[in-house]
């Protein structure tokens, strides 16, 4: 209702979501956001899941082109494999937005949850709580793009605060990730009993570290700072005496919505801007306890900036029902 062409005709416009990653809560919530926003603006959504096969993901873009969609959202992936495919889509006259992957194309806006900012805000909170001189354990697996971007923040903070000592670096993506990291963190705590801060910038890592800290009986001594959030993370942070004191996150559903809205703006001939950044929010244990927040929905209602990001908005843009 009241939407510009071609969105004025519900169901006429087809868009495709081409995913690189799909397993896990973040991706499920993201998909939820994409779906609800698509429904709100009345477009027909198709989902292509490459299940972490970057080559297949590129082919899926071609498939979407062949299906004659009007817009494509590329969710994650590798620059090198997606660049050409994205260009082909643009050449075919299709509007494209990319989320968390740089396809090096000026016609394609880049939606980002700013991993760098996630790391940065968490570390700022850590310095606020613990001063600028402490012994830290760091959980990191190189080679994973978002983790690498969060690593930048860590390197910067370390360089700026010589008092912060990186006592141990560990981490693994062996499944189940939380359990494997718990085992590693356990060994690290045993070998380095003087650690007071754990920087685990991925919630699965943080969960593992929390289990290890609990098992070692060090909940009072150690503080965990992380990135990302989910309902389960909230309850873990709120456990009595939990060492997990803060996390920084964007709402994955909101990110999904922003992607669809950016695409909708392009479909109607508008320009969402070269880069659309969904700002992250700092979530502390104290805040969760104060507000008695139990799940993501509570978090959204108590924290408006988490519920809705005021980016990629126009006056005609319908929002999903809450």
């Amino acid at each position: 209702a009241g939407m510009p062409a071609p969105l004025d005709d519900p169901g006429k416009v087809k868009i495709a979501l081409v995913r690189y990653l799909s397993t896990g809560d973040f991706f499920q919530a993201y998909l939820g956001g994409v779906e609800s926003q698509s429904e709100a603006i009345g477009v027909d959504l198709r989902v292509f899941d490459s299940r972490q096969d970057a080559a297949l993901q590129a082919d899926m873009v071609d498939q979407a082109i062949a299906l004659g969609v009007d817009g494509i959202i590329i969710q994650h992936g590798l620059t090198e494999s997606m660049k050409d495919a994205a260009q082909r889509a643009v050449d075919a006259g299709i509007r494209v937005v990319a989320f968390d992957v740089n396809v090096e194309n000026s016609a394609i806006p880049q939606v980002e949850q700013s991993d760098y900012m996630l790391g940065k805000l968490a570390l700022e909170q850590a310095i606020k709580d613990n001063g600028n001189s402490f012994k830290a354990g760091y959980v990191y697996v190189p080679g994973i793009a978002p983790l690498d971007r969060r690593d930048k923040a860590w390197e910067e903070v370390k360089a700026a605060n010589p008092g912060i000592v990186e006592t141990a670096v560990f981490g693994t993506l062996d499944n189940p990730i939380a359990n494997s990291n718990a085992n590693q963190a356990r060994s690290v705590l045993q070998a380095n009993p003087d650690i007071t801060v754990m920087f685990a910038p991925y919630d699965e890592f943080a969960k593992g570290v929390k289990i290890a800290v609990d098992e070692a009986g060090l909940t009072d001594q150690i503080d965990i700072y992380s990135a990302d959030v989910s309902t389960a993370d909230i309850s873990a942070m709120r456990e009595p005496g939990s060492a997990w004191v803060a996390t920084v996150a964007t709402n994955p559903a909101v990110v999904g919505e922003v992607c669809v809205r950016s695409l909708a703006i392009m479909l109607t001939g508008g320009d969402p801007g070269r880069s659309v950044i969904v700002p992250p929010t700092l979530i502390t244990q104290a805040f969760l306890n104060e507000q008695d927040i139990k799940n993501m929905e509570d978090l959204g209602s108590k924290m408006p900036q988490f519920q809705h990001a005021d980016v990629a908005m126009t006056e005609w843009m319908p929002l999903p029902k809450r």
Partner: protein, 338 residues
Amino acid sequence: MSNNFSIRNLSIKYGFLVLLLVLIIFFSIFASGFAGPRSAVFIFQSVAITGILALGVTCTLVVDGFDLSIGSVATSSLMMSAYMLVILEQNAFVAVVACLLMGAFVGLLNGLLIVKMKVPDLLATLGMMFLLIGLQRVPTEGRSIATGMRLPSGEVADGIFPGSFLWIGRHRFDFFLENLIPVPVIIFLVVAVLVWIFLELTRHGRLMYAIGSNERAASLAGANVNLYKILAYVISGVTASIGGILLSARLGRGDIASGNNLLLDSVAAALIGFAVLGAAKPNALGTAIGALFVGILLQGLTMMNAPYYTQDFVKGGVLVIALVFTFALTSRSRKGGH
């Protein structure tokens, strides 16, 4: 031949254990914090779940089978326990029983596919693996299960992981030191002893080994081949579901995860077991020691702050060297020719 205490025979029998000892000594010296009762307990704790799975897969190896579905049975059990507790709001006992039954049922299905439908073991359990990986995600549409989660129906799940359930994964018994030995370690040891007794000391175990060596001859000697094969897969299913329960109780939530690493690590443990005490065949004691071996290696390397990729590398390297050592010697002493 068994009375021949030559150096070669000794090294076949004890070579692997000596290697283990050398590793322990090495890490005790070079990895601060490695030596000590608490550290030993972590090692047991870190391998308890893979170890339990590995003991199950050992039973299927004994009857010359293979169970690729254990990883997915464990994650299904993880999801199922969380579903029972958080969404259906059942108590711990019901959740545990349901998971064990599920494991037994999957094992039964595997066994029937293999025995009655004559589907090759790798194939049947591979199919089951994919099936379960999918199935465990259907009820929550791929979401993890945690207290307070919003269900597809829009309701909020109010159930919790009760303390009695978490106890299984988290409680520690006093043993000389306070809060020393976690429940999963006890369960691992109990399962190991039970499987060992079953395979080595009972007639059922011996018949299973006979079936693994020559199925037809065992059948003509009166063994109920089908029953024992099914039993092996049921044991494997149940142990995998125990692993899943422990995982669930440790994590305190129903985490969407793939069990690929659980599968590979427990298969590794079971296979390393071949080399222990020169057995050159699947055996429970070897499997338990194989699991510990991997645990010690990873614990030691982590404590020495080795980057994660060196762990796989060292794991593989030590594995290959240990195995070459054991098997090359075993085979040479066994026969003169081929």
